[in-house]
């Protein structure tokens, strides 16, 4: 295990969690795919997320083969790619949108590798605060994990329901910003219920780290956000917002607001 704990500047994310903690509020983390439904629509979507009360935006870098994603995000990625979205395009979008809230790039490894050794510093220059890579689990590639961990971006790591406790500690130690807890087995996508084991998994993770814990995968409705928000420091909503973005910024705004209200209740 080579990658050292990240210590850097990432820290609009940490500041945001500190501020929320003082107010006893939960973070609303919103995922959308960059360039979906198109560049203009993507700019409006980002604006609607901010206006609706998102605390952190996860901006998806589209990839041709998103093995961790369900049909909704798959389709949005394909659509964005067909419109010509690239890693550099995502950074350009970010520079134009200049969101007031921290942005975490959500990506598969290959597009980041292809963007070259300066990919992460360029992302920071474009205004990103963090990076999350779906397919580089802790220990899989020490050299590249070190590269990701030492960049100016917070390196958000994922924990799954299948992760044993000792490994949870290992993951948390090699990440920064927050820990993303996958709520259930499976890929991204809207679900009616949350896993029964979730409270216990959160508790297990809590005992291994002081980083904030955000729970995602399958959370779509204000009711789900409210109930998960009682257990975690933040909730991540993805596919439901991507579907809303398909219909336009008003739908995104409406859904974001209702999620915000449910979380702040």
């Amino acid at each position: 295990m080579a990658s050292p704990p990240a210590t850097t500047s990432s820290n609009s994310i940490t500041r945001r969690f500190d501020a929320l903690k003082k107010e006893s509020r939960r973070a609303l983390v919103c995922y959308v795919t960059a360039g979906h439904p198109d560049i203009g629509g993507s700019l409006e979507t980002l604006r609607a997320l901010e206006d609706g009360g998102a605390d952190i935006i996860e901006l998806g870098v589209p990839f041709s083969d998103p093995i961790a994603d369900g049909p909704v995000i798959q389709a949005s990625s394909q659509q964005a790619l067909e419109k010509g979205m690239t890693y550099d395009g995502v950074l350009a979008l970010l520079e134009r949108a200049k969101p007031r809230v921290p942005v975490v790039l959500f990506s598969y490894l290959n597009p980041i590798l292809a963007a070259g050794p300066d990919a992460l510093t360029r992302a920071a220059d474009a205004g990103a605060s963090g990076i999350l890579v779906t397919d580089i689990p802790v220990g899989a590639d020490p050299a590249r994990e070190e590269w990701l961990g030492a960049s100016p971006l917070a390196f958000i790591r994922l924990v799954a329901p299948t992760t044993p406790r000792a490994r949870m500690a290992e993951i948390a130690r090699h990440g920064s910003g927050f820990v993303y807890l996958i709520s259930r087995l499976g890929v991204t996508g809207v679900q009616q219920t949350t896993a029964a084991s979730l409270p216990e998994t959160i508790q297990r993770l809590r005992s291994t780290t002081t980083l904030p814990i955000c729970v995602g995968f399958g959370i779509a409705t204000p009711e789900q956000a409210r109930s998960v928000g009682k257990l975690a420091d933040g909730v991540v909503v993805g596919s439901a917002l991507v579907s809303a973005a398909e219909h336009g910024p008003e739908d995104v705004l409406k859904l974001t607001r209702s999620l915000r209200e449910a979380l702040d209740d």
Partner: protein, 394 residues
Amino acid sequence: MASETLHRFGAFGGQYVPETLIPALDELDAAFDQAIRDPEFQRELDRLLKEYVGRPSPLSTAPRLSQAVGCDVYLKREDLNHTGAHKINNALGQGLLAKRMGKKRIIAETGAGQHGVASATVCARFGLDCTVYMGEEDMRRQELNVYRMRLMGAKVVPVLSGTRTLKDATSEAIRDWVTNVNDSYYIIGSVVGPAPYPRMVRDFQSVIGREAKAQMLETAGRAPSSVVACVGGGSNAMGIFHAFVPDLAVELVGVEAAGRGLDSGEHSASLQRGVPGVLHGSLSYLLQDESGQVHPAHSISAGLDYPGVGPEHSYLKETGRALYVSVTDDEAVEGLGILSRLEGIIPALETSHAVAWVVKEKERWNKGDAVLICISGRGDKDLAQISEMGLLPA
């Protein structure tokens, strides 16, 4: 986690997967290592390879093909295995492992349908539930195999995303596995995917080369000078290469699909025209654009129509131990005709690439050469497709 370097072939391979799968891969790694050291497992596998698959597969001389190319050609007859291709060697090994691990549900992906058929077969034999993902485009090209799988009780799920071929079927199989990881076993069909799959599939396929090495001594009284196999993901090639890798006098040649030509942009020649990248859990040569998006592959043969390649092939290429070449769609169809007419053996379109290269490179062979070709599968599954395309003689 300490074994990260054991997951690689040089720089290639690895475990680039969602976190959810890591404990399952660790479990698989341990179960496989334990199984191959267990004489009981090996005995059971050997028994089934003999009584069910029909191994050892013969080594055939090829007198008329030899005459046509000007050296001695030998054919390792994986086409004569039960279900008609090498794929059964791996499906049987992994099926036995799944059973040993107590898994009741099997997931598989398939391109040409040969791995899907092999998996469905093994599941029927062991009484396991079987779900096979197959691109819609491939279901059309390989209709006969879809029927065979269903007949044996497998569920064939059409994949409509992306290019609707092997790449997308593999992604969908991985998504199923992430969702059902606690009770399902994923039988991957080639030497691709996250560790330990590339090594495990190679080991289950290495029976091809072990047998061939002994048979060459027996039949020809010598080792082959060259061993030639087609490369899709690369399992029949790794299977026949593995026993020969330490024998540096034996040339190893992998034949990729050049599709409509290497310069057409429509091919599956990952090792010749790709650059290293990450797809389906491992780092290996990959067809991709400059922004890291996977470039759709093309081949007339569904089994070679894949933009990636097994990481061990990337390593054999980098170290210079193996040579990677290619032939086009048209040349492959010609290869199918040539082996059919000269030897009375109708090879699969995938296999035809290896045959076609040996024929095309006639000039390179000397009289004393002994060229061993892996006949990875038989061509029955392809006849409807090529006759539809008007490529069969009247």
